[in-house]
């Protein structure tokens, strides 16, 4: 049953050093406020799972929280590189970060399989790609009915998943609307889950087949207003595309990055 906690307490309770964490949200509803709280609490050696690391993992990696990143597309969407991810992989700053790399299709299926309680996902994938040469977690099986060779990847089963959503009701039932990504899958696949929301309401006021995650499938709900900025929340605020562009210059340099984190995360209080 979802407990309504402060973001600070939710992160303290569920994110430990060494934890495998998935902070999901496909471009939309990225849980930046929660990511910042993880940075503020100085968590270390995290295995960070996310289809698109985006700025949120660029920040966590640069701040030294990550031991390993599992991902399928690690760029700044429409802008260019994630400089902190690159600096860690290419030059080992602030320390070396291990990577495990998939395609989107495989990772989406791996989240789906995790939610479905399966140990593996099977897909028509990776044909002719050299990713299986560098990722020993990509295997191939033979269909017992047709003999077709199909790719198999382990399902994603994070210790903790963190997602952001529009709203929760007082029983902790959560509505996700718009681009729903793999957020529901991330929550259902994880041992524990934290959902940050724009607001808590009396009634979700929704439609028969809405993407609602029941409160009993969630561990903690925390209110984080504008908690996905510079990403966006459908119905609440738009994506701050300008900031995504500005991030390129901020993150390119270790010092400007460190200063940005200091000013905007470390010294910014729990709402940043």
């Amino acid at each position: 049953m979802a407990e309504i906690l402060s973001l600070h307490d939710a992160v303290t309770r569920y994110v430990e050093d060494g934890t495998t964490v998935a902070m999901e949200g496909f471009t939309h509803l990225i849980p930046f406020a929660a990511g910042h709280e993880v940075i503020r609490q100085g968590k270390r050696d995290l295995t960070l799972v996310r289809m698109t690391p985006d700025l949120i993992y660029d920040q966590l990696i640069g701040a030294g929280c990550a031991k390993k990143v599992i991902f399928s597309w690690g760029g700044n969407p429409g802008v260019g590189s994630l400089h902190r991810l690159r600096d860690a992989v290419e030059k080992g700053w602030p320390h070396r970060v291990e990577i495990l790399e998939h395609s989107h299709a495989a990772m989406a299926c791996a989240f789906e399989a995790g939610a479905a309680g399966l140990p593996l996902a099977v897909l028509r994938g990776y044909v002719g790609s050299e990713l299986p040469n560098v990722n020993d977690q990509i295997k191939f099986i033979e269909c017992p009915f047709t003999g077709e060779r199909l790719a198999a990847v382990p399902s994603v089963r994070p210790d903790v998943s963190i997602v952001h959503a529009q709203k929760a009701d007082r029983a902790g039932n959560v509505l996700v609307e718009g681009i729903v990504g793999v957020q529901k899958e991330a929550v259902l696949a994880a041992t524990h889950s934290i959902v940050t929301v724009e607001e808590i309401v009396d009634d979700l006021d929704t439609h028969p087949n809405a993407c609602v995650i029941p409160g009993w499938a969630i561990d903690a709900i925390a209110v984080a207003e504008q908690g996905s900025l510079p990403s966006y929340a459908h119905g609440y605020y738009p994506r701050n595309n300008r900031f995504y562009k500005e991030w390129d210059a901020i993150a390119r340099d270790r010092d400007t990055f460190t200063q940005w984190i200091e000013e905007n995360v470390m010294n910014a209080g729990e709402t940043a």
């Binding site: 496909f26 299926c109 044909v127 002719g128 790609s129």
Partner: protein, 262 residues
């Protein structure tokens, strides 16, 4: 590229986008990559192909953005879509399920056999440049009916052998799709700011089939990292029309305004 005499004033980039857009047939279901493919696909939709179905991997089905998305999942895409599905559903039902006629991709590197590299330059364990990675491309390239690729022509991009095959064109020997069941045709067209290329029907090696107005074969060769072949029936790519340029410029202007405003 030096500008030569043309009926209208347009840039090489505009020539590329218009040519890529024209390649898209009305009614096609197109899985759209972000950036140049998205620009071309939306230009097609706003000109000759009003019923082209644009699908982005963020789950937005049949979307009709007023401004170009910066990311693959801008709000604009969901707001103008027929409906939005989860990302697993997108890759499972719509792409892998065989509903996509055409994948429209960009890339960082491409080679003679149309293999794409968006993973890294150098060695995997000690990369010189780490690129973003595969994203949707590896399975778009094999599960879509066919694939168009659009990118700027340069020696850095057009290499004899990609450092890493992120996404299959036709493999290191051109035979990478032979005998593979349930696989799409693969790349059928590469559109750059200099020319249009197609794979040779037999060897699958890329061949220039059309030069853009004012572009010479030498220019293409200079910008290509291997000895590129030209078809015997080499054509001149038709110029953009005034209408196409007007729509494209309007789209880019609306986009710039929208993105600056936030």
């Amino acid at each position: 590229m030096s500008h030569v005499e043309k009926n209208l004033d347009y840039t090489a980039g505009e020539m590329m986008t218009v040519t890529a857009a024209r390649a898209l047939e009305n009614g096609t279901t197109c899985f759209v990559g972000i950036g140049l493919p998205s620009e071309a696909a939306n230009l097609a939709r706003l000109t000759h192909a009003p019923d082209v179905v644009l699908i982005y991997e963020s789950g937005t089905l049949q979307t009709k953005p007023e401004v170009l998305p910066l990311s693959i999942g801008d709000g604009e895409l969901a707001e103008t879509a027929l409906t939005t599905v989860s990302v697993p559903e997108m890759f499972r039902y719509w792409l892998q399920g065989g509903k996509i006629n055409l994948g429209f991709l960009g890339t960082a590197q491409i080679d003679r056999y149309c293999n794409l590299n968006t993973t890294l330059i150098g060695d995997y364990t000690a990369p010189k440049v780490r690129l973003p990675g595969g994203g949707g491309a590896p399975e778009i390239a094999t599960n879509a009916g066919e694939v168009f690729i659009t990118l700027k022509h340069s020696k850095r991009a057009f290499v004899d052998q990609v450092d890493f095959i992120t996404t299959l064109g036709f493999g290191r020997d051109g035979k990478g799709r032979d005998g593979v069941p349930n696989i799409g045709k693969g790349p059928t067209r590469v559109i750059t700011d200099l020319c249009v290329m197609k794979p040779d029907p037999e060897t699958k090696e890329l061949v220039v089939v059309s030069l853009h107005p004012g572009v010479s074969a030498e220019q293409v060769q200079e910008a290509t990292g291997w000895e590129i072949r030209f078809t015997e029936t080499l054509e001149s790519t038709p110029e953009p029309s005034a209408r196409e340029l007007e729509v494209l410029r309007g789209l880019k202007e609306r986009t710039a305004q929208a993105h600056a405003g936030q």
